[in-house]
Every structure is written in C-alpha cells, then in structure tokens.
C-alpha cells in the first residue's frame, strides 16, 4: 500500500522583503507518512514546520522538490483529501457555527445531508448545543473544539494540524488530545500535527519527526510504540519519559541555535 504522504526533497526559499536577504526555510526535507499514522513535526520556532505543513497541504508551492498524496502529486489544495486545522479558529465570525459548517461543506461541494453531518461532527466534540451561536460568543477552547469538529466533518483521509492546541490551557489541551487519539483509533485518519510541546508530541504521535533550527532539516525520526487510543496513564509510564528525554536531547541544541540566531538578528538591527 502506498504511503499516504510522500515528501521528496522539498526545499523552500522565501524572498527577502525590502532589501533583507532571502531566507531558506526548509532544506531538502524528505519524509514518508503511512496511512493511519499520527506524525508529529517537532522543532524550535522558525524551523519551518508550519511551512512544511502548508506545502504538504498544497497551500504553498515548494521552491524545489515534490509532495505526493496517495498517488497524486500535490499542485494545489486537495479539499477532498486534506483538511487543515489551524492554530486560531478559522470560523467565519459573521456566520453561526452551523452556518460555518454549511459553508465549509459547500466549498467541498458536499451539499446533501450537510446538517446531519455537521451535527454528528459537533456531537463528537460535545458542542452540539452551540450550533446556533456566533463564534464571538464562545471561548477559545470551545472555538478550537468546533474548529476540530469541522476538520473532521470534512471527512478527508488526511488531517493537517498546525499547533491547534497552542492557545489553550493545559487541561483543555489534555482533554482534546485524548479526543484526538480516540478519533484516530476510530477513523484511521492520517494526521500530521505540528507542535513545539514535547509532552504533546510523545503523547499523541506514532512517529516524531524532530527538525533542526532554520533552515529546517529532518534531524531524527523517533517511533513511539503505543497503540491508539492512548490513555492518559501512558504519561506515567517510564517509556514515555524515555522518549521524551530523547526528544529533549535532540531539541536542546536546536533551540540554543535558534535563540542565538535571534540574539544576533536583534543586535545586528539598526536601532
């Protein structure tokens, strides 16, 4: 069975604005992600993990290299195969929650039975009571839950998530992480999840891709052998700490490099 996603030597160069030098965000990244696998992209800020996610999802075209989803080369968004969940809620503020689902499913050209579909997705995250609310009436945690529900409702084989829980408090994060694990076990979706939280990565992922500081390269790929759905008790096991420590050692130097680079940039800037 072909892998769900193949990333083949992808590099990304961003043009410098207003005389700034060009920036190499990703340097020859290659990955293979299997069907039903939960992969975490873990790395320091600015290492290009969000860029890589956007490239996989067809929102950005890479400067060089190719991405293949299933058997199709990626040349643009794939609304039927790939769904995004962003860090901030991308619910349209002028529509109610339910109307948002209708519009998203309409984009996907799925008009029949959209209401039941939407309500089912909302129920799976416990938000069915808020279908008639406007986003501004909801808390950040609730909005992100609904964001997630919408990603699920789109019924794609692949879910790309860019630090979806970063703006949430610890408890909500844990709960939603659990929900995600259950979802994966039940639906067999392929999930690519960007984070810079070590615990989150180890808790959720089957495979952790540790990236270097900018320009981003794959530093190491670590497997986490624990079946989904994972119980919160997994965090108490020694295996969890081992993997976590392993990731920390790999990351520590990259974080240091990133911080030093930031200091350099700050000192070099004319005041």
């Amino acid at each position: 069975m072909p892998p769900a996603i193949t990333v083949d030597r992808v590099s990304q160069l961003f043009a410098g604005a207003n005389g700034a030098p060009d920036a190499l965000a990703l340097d020859t990244v290659s990955l293979e992600i299997g069907r039903g696998e939960f992969v975490c992209l873990l790395g320091p800020s600015g290492c290009g993990k969000s860029t890589l996610l956007n490239i996989i999802g067809g929102l950005i075209a890479p400067t060089s290299g190719t991405v293949t989803v299933g058997a199709t080369p990626v040349r643009g968004p794939l609304p039927r195969d790939v769904a995004f969940v962003f860090q901030e809620s991308t619910l349209l503020p002028w529509y109610t929650v339910l109307e948002n689902f209708r519009v998203s499913l309409e984009f996907q050209e799925r008009r029949n039975g959209w209401r039941e579909h939407a309500m089912t997705a909302l129920s799976s995250v416990g938000m069915q009571g808020f279908a008639g609310f406007y986003p501004s009436q909801l808390s950040i945690g609730m909005k992100q839950r609904i964001n997630l529900a919408r990603g699920i409702a789109l019924d794609t084989g692949i879910l790309l998530m860019d630090e979806p829980f970063a703006a949430l408090d610890e408890q909500t994060r844990l709960v939603l992480g659990e929900d995600l694990s259950v979802l994966l076990a039940r639906t067999g979706k392929t999930i690519v999840f960007v984070t810079h939280s070590l615990s989150e990565a180890v808790m959720l992922a089957d495979t952790i891709v540790v990236m270097t500081a900018r320009p981003g390269k794959v530093k190491s790929v670590i497997a986490v052998a624990e079946p989904h759905p994972r119980s919160p008790d997994f965090m108490l096991q020694p295996r969890f700490s081992e993997v976590r420590n392993q990731c920390y050692e790999l990351l520590r130097d990259e974080i240091r490099v990133t911080v030093d680079a930031m200091r350099e940039a700050r000192d070099a800037r004319p005041s």
């Binding site: 929102l59 968004p77 609304p79 039927r80 995004f84 962003f86 991308t90």
Partner: protein, 255 residues
C-alpha cells in the same frame, strides 16, 4: 474589608443632576441677566414650541431639511462604498488613491460652500450635494482601510477547503467589506448632518436659514432657540437610528 462610607453617586445620577443644574442656570441667567430681545430661558422656548411647530411653513422647511439629509446620506453611503471597495480591492488601487482620499478628508470643505451654491443653486440640490461631499469621505476611508482587514488566515482556510474565487468573494471578502462600511456609518451621518446644516444656514432666502434669520431679526429668541432645539433633537434621533442599524447588522461582533 470594605469601608463603610456612603455609597458614591452613580455615573448616571451625576450626569442627569449636572444637566438639570445647567438648565436651571440657563433659566435663571436668562431671566435675570439676559436681554429678552436676544436671550430666551428654557421655559419660554418650551412654551413657544407649539406655535413654532404649528406653522406649516416652518414644518415644511424642517421636512425639506430632513429629506435632504436622508438623501445625501444614502447617496454618500452607496457611492462611498462602491468607490471605496473599488479602490481598496487591489494593493495598487489602494496605494495610488488612498492618499488622495485622505487628503480630501482633511480639507475644510466649508470654503467651497459658496461655490457649491453657485453651481447647484439656492434649492435642495446644493444642500444634498454639500451633505454628500461631507458624508462620502468617511465611508470611503473606512471601506478602504477595512478591505485590508480581510483575514489572510480565513482565506487560507477557505482555499484549503476548496473554495473558488467567487465563493471566497461571497463568504469572506463581501461580509468583511459590509462590516467595514458599517463602521463608518455613524461618522458619515454626523458629517452629512453638518454639510446639510451648513448649506441650509448659508442660504438665507429659503429653508431653515431663512427662518433663523427672520427669528433673529424680529427678536424672537424663543422661536430661534426652539427651531435649533428641534433640529438638534432630530440630529440626535438620526444618529441613534444609524447606531441601531449598525448594531443590528453587527450582532455577530458581540463579545
């Protein structure tokens, strides 16, 4: 532990007591110090109101002014929104034309009032034109700046869901534009009011300007004050209506 002092007066109480105090001061000062040819106490103003509003010609002048304001406002909103959207749609358009708009917005339009009267005559047309030029600019400014606020994240999200350009226009760009036009609505009403009132007062041969002159020259301060009061109340009412309309359309913004 909270101190057991007397509860401080509420903001609303302070406000209304101050207003009441000022009105009383006006009454007293007008009666004791004011020349009755020029100054009218509030009691006199209220007493002459029925007589003022009973005069059909005065009412006609008020009605014409109201019509001019509403017409100028509607024209300003439509024209301002269309031009503002056209300018703000592209980065080139915005960079090229927004500076012109801002420049015009900062000018004292009153200096072209005599010219507007020359061109449009002494009737309602000049009042509508002058109100229009006042109200159209804030709509353009808020629309142009608002177009920039189309969230790139929402666009990315819609793209990833397979939205076409037309769908993005309808579900993201258009609602953003409408929202920004609405933020300029209240200011546009204030300024339209200003333009129409200026033009009305300038032309003293008919309309409101005629009656302010008559009441002043025949030493009827009660009627003069009364006329102004009616207009001021109308202005407040119009502002409130616009605010209500804006609130009704911005229900999703509450937080």
């Amino acid at each position: 532990m909270q101190s057991v002092a007397a509860k401080p007066p509420s903001a609303a109480a302070i406000r209304w007591w101050t207003i009441a105090g000022l009105v009383l001061l006006w009454e007293a000062a007008a009666r004791l110090l004011g020349d009755p040819a020029f100054v009218a106490p509030p009691s006199l103003v209220l007493r002459t109101l029925p007589e003022l509003l009973g005069d059909p010609k005065v009412v006609a002048a008020l009605g014409t002014a109201l019509l001019e304001i509403v017409t100028a406002f509607i024209l300003a909103v439509i024209a301002g929104a269309i031009v503002g959207i056209a300018i703000g749609l592209t980065t080139l358009g915005r960079r090229t034309f927004y500076p012109f708009v801002l420049l015009l917005f900062g000018l004292p339009q009153v200096v072209v009032l005599p010219l507007v009267i020359l061109i449009f005559g002494l009737g309602p047309a000049s009042r509508i034109a002058f109100g229009f030029t006042h109200g159209v600019l804030p709509i353009m400014v808020t629309t142009i700046t608002g177009m920039r606020s189309v969230s790139p994240l929402l666009i990315s999200s819609a793209r990833s869901q397979g939205a076409t350009q037309a769908q993005m226009l309808r579900h993201i760009i258009f609602p953003t534009m409408i929202a920004t036009v609405f933020t300029g609505l209240r200011l546009a009403m204030s300024l339209t009011l200003l333009g129409v009132v200026l033009a009305e007062l300038f032309v003293s041969t008919n309309g409101i300007g005629n009656y302010t002159q008559i009441f002043a020259e025949t030493f009827k301060p009660g009627k003069l004050y009364g006329l102004i009061l009616v207009l001021a109340v109308t202005a407040v009412a119009l502002n409130e209506i616009v605010a209500l309309v804006e609130a009704r359309f911005s229900r999703w913004k509450q937080s």
